[in-house]
């Protein structure tokens, strides 16, 4: 059984020096490499990715579609389709217990009860033929072996806690009678039923309207601080997580290109990709006019560019970037890390 060791590998890059460092490390992903062996070739979904999450902390994994931002948590939750997916290297530890290659009993005891997950589309995650209350109660009946009556009571209580009005009445309704926001609340209730230590939210607000997005983010952050959970938010939307994230990891083409405290990232992004991404988001105030944009399109994960995967789109690329892939290294005078040869020059 592996324990949390402090090595000098890039896994430590993310061990934050912020105020939450005294808390226990709950989940730790180290040098994780996931490949998809497809007919067209090997897809390098994630390469050498490392992150960890402490009690009471919020980590945001940011990236565009195809960046591999969801892959590492899918590996954690055992949701990778195998085959074609292969965990080609690295480790995933939950409170010191190695999950890669662990027995299915070990995995079952952790997934769902210790680490829970909610998804982008709550409609497809709820079974349309059962009442919502029944589905939440089922988690109690199976996970905690409660009686039917007790489980129903707890389900209604939990629905109230996640802000579903009239929970007694709502518990008797079917998923299609819920609005998108209410469904997401029901999903959150279900994920919280077994009081997990880590909650993973994969694009939790993407399918929702802007006024509802704000409500769901508020709810997630409230529950996180009440339960002192570790919260992992995976999103492409730089705006929705800005106020709640403690730390961020930015993904590009299957690699982490920048990581560090959220405030530093938003105030002064270090990696050229992060800079381009942040400056291409249109704002609700300030000057309008031509938007900054990152030229070109994200690379195919089957044929990654040589050297730094971002170099064909990078406005600052130099010869070295074409041949050599930069490692995630510490940024001077700052707690973050960036995978760019020119980090210091560009800041």
């Amino acid at each position: 059984m592996a324990t949390v060791t402090s090595s000098t590998s890039s896994a430590d890059c993310l061990r934050s020096g912020s105020d939450s460092s005294s808390d226990e490390v709950l989940l730790e992903v180290q040098d994780l490499t996931v490949e998809f062996h497809t007919d067209d070739g090997i897809v390098h979904a994630v390469s050498n990715m490392s992150w960890d999450i402490n009690e009471g902390e919020t980590l945001a994994i940011l990236g565009e579609s195809g960046s591999g931002k969801s892959v590492s948590v899918q590996a954690v939750m055992g949701l990778l389709p195998t085959p074609p997916a292969v965990i080609a290297g690295g480790s995933i530890r939950y409170r010191g217990t190695e999950l890669v290659g662990a027995s299915s009993d070990t995995l079952r005891s952790i997934r769902g009860s210790e680490v829970a997950m909610i998804f982008q589309d709550p409609l497809s995650a709820l079974n349309p033929v059962y009442r919502v209350g029944w589905q939440i109660a089922e988690t109690f009946r199976i996970g905690k072996r409660m009686s039917r009556k007790e489980a129903n009571g707890r389900a209604i209580e939990l629905m109230g806690r996640v802000g579903i009005p009239n929970p007694e009445q709502r518990a008797r309704q079917y998923p299609h009678q819920f609005s998108g926001g209410m469904r997401q609340r029901a999903m959150i209730a279900m994920a919280l039923a077994l009081e997990p230590k880590v909650l993973i939210a994969d694009e939790p607000t993407t399918a929702l309207d802007v006024t509802v997005q704000a409500q769901i983010m508020d709810l997630l952050s409230k529950i996180q601080s009440e339960n002192r959970m570790g919260l992992i938010l995976i999103t492409h939307d730089l705006g929705v997580v800005a106020s709640v994230a403690d730390r961020v990891v930015v993904m590009y083409a299957g690699r982490a290109v920048e990581s560090g405290p959220a405030d530093d990232f938003y105030a002064k992004p270090a990696h050229p990709y992060s800079q381009g991404l942040l400056s291409s988001v249109p704002k609700i105030s300030g000057p309008t006019g031509k938007l900054n944009s990152i030229e070109g399109t994200p690379p195919s994960v089957i044929e990654l560019p040589s050297g730094c995967a971002f170099h064909p789109r990078c406005p600052h690329s130099v010869d070295r970037c074409h041949s050599q892939a930069p490692e995630l290294t510490a940024i001077t005078d700052r707690t973050g890390h960036s995978a760019c040869f020119l980090t210091e020059e560009l800041l």
Partner: protein, 306 residues
């Protein structure tokens, strides 16, 4: 000139030649079941087209079909000389079974073509225009579904053959006219999906005529499931023809088809089981060939397999 950004070449493109059909072909060609079923189908088609190639040349001028019919040889068990034995007429049963492929396959092919043509036409119109037309076509199709298949076949066959003897085309039309409602249902539902896709809306917004929309945008994108269905259907049509002939309401008794052979053999099963066994094997293998091919096509056409 505008100074828009040129995205880098080929970043997200895999190779030049990937179209739907080529992608399907790439999947198909690596599957042994596809080749296996293809070989079965080719062998049977060859058998139907050129039965002479499968049967030793005729020994005399009075026996051009090479069936070696000699009444004195009736009901012989399989031997080196007569691989499948002989039938009641003393004809070589291997030659008989081989010649039977033609009628069985003709019926299967044309009955399927018949039902697919009507089905695509009606299903396409019903799905595309909707409203009353759709309601009307769908209810008629439902009516046909309510009719038990054999009862339906008996009705159609007796209606077609009020005078004269039954012919191959009667059976073909009977089977085809009972098969189209299933095609209507299938093709209509794919048309309904495709017609709401944005590229169809886009063509409509450009002022494209209905004919153009149906022919250029809907048909090529909605045809695949129907193709698969009808390939699988060919296998069952062969079996249906045999059933009808077996029941005595199918092909005229003097024609040679596997169904007829089974009918005749059924009466003599204790004494001459080989008369039943050989056409049954051919029937099953031919049906299986088409069903397997259909299954392979379905998997290759399914985008989720990509």
């Amino acid at each position: 000139m505008t100074n828009v950004i040129h995205p880098p070449e080929s970043s997200s493109t895999v190779d030049e030649s990937r179209t739907f059909w080529r992608d399907s072909w790439r999947i198909l060609r690596r599957r042994w079941l596809f080749w296996f079923s293809l070989i079965i189908i080719i062998v049977f088609i060859a058998m139907a087209a050129f039965p002479e190639a499968f049967v030793a040349p005729s020994p005399g001028p009075d026996d051009p079909s090479g069936k070696f019919c000699l009444l004195t040889n009736d009901r012989l068990a399989p031997s080196a000389e007569h691989w499948y034995g002989t039938d009641v007429q003393g004809c070589d049963y291997y030659a008989q079974v081989t010649h039977g492929a033609r009628v069985s396959l003709i019926v299967a092919l044309f009955a399927t073509l018949f039902s697919v043509t009507i089905g695509i036409l009606l299903g396409g119109l019903a799905g595309f225009y909707g409203g009353w037309l759709d309601a009307f076509v769908s209810r008629i199709a439902d009516g046909f579904f309510a009719l038990p298949y054999l009862v339906g076949a008996i009705i159609v066959l007796s209606a077609l053959t009020t005078q004269g003897s039954r012919q191959i085309w009667h059976v073909t039309v009977a089977i085809g006219s009972l098969g189209w409602p299933a095609v209507v249902r299938l093709y209509r539902s794919t048309v309904l999906q495709v017609k709401n896709l944005e590229y169809v809306q886009a063509a409509r917004a450009l002022g494209a005529s209905d004919g153009r929309i149906i022919y250029r945008h809907i048909l090529p994108n909605a045809i695949a499931p129907t193709l698969v269905y009808s390939t699988i259907g060919m296998g069952s049509v062969i079996a249906v023809e045999a059933t009808l002939s077996f029941l005595g309401i199918g092909l005229p008794i003097n024609s040679i088809s596997w169904g007829i052979m089974l009918t005749e053999a059924g009466n003599r099963i204790e004494n001459t089981p080989h008369l039943l066994i050989f056409p049954s094997i051919y029937l099953i293998v031919a049906s299986l060939g088409f069903v397997l091919m259909g299954e392979q096509l379905r998997e290759a056409f399914d985008p989720r397999q990509r």
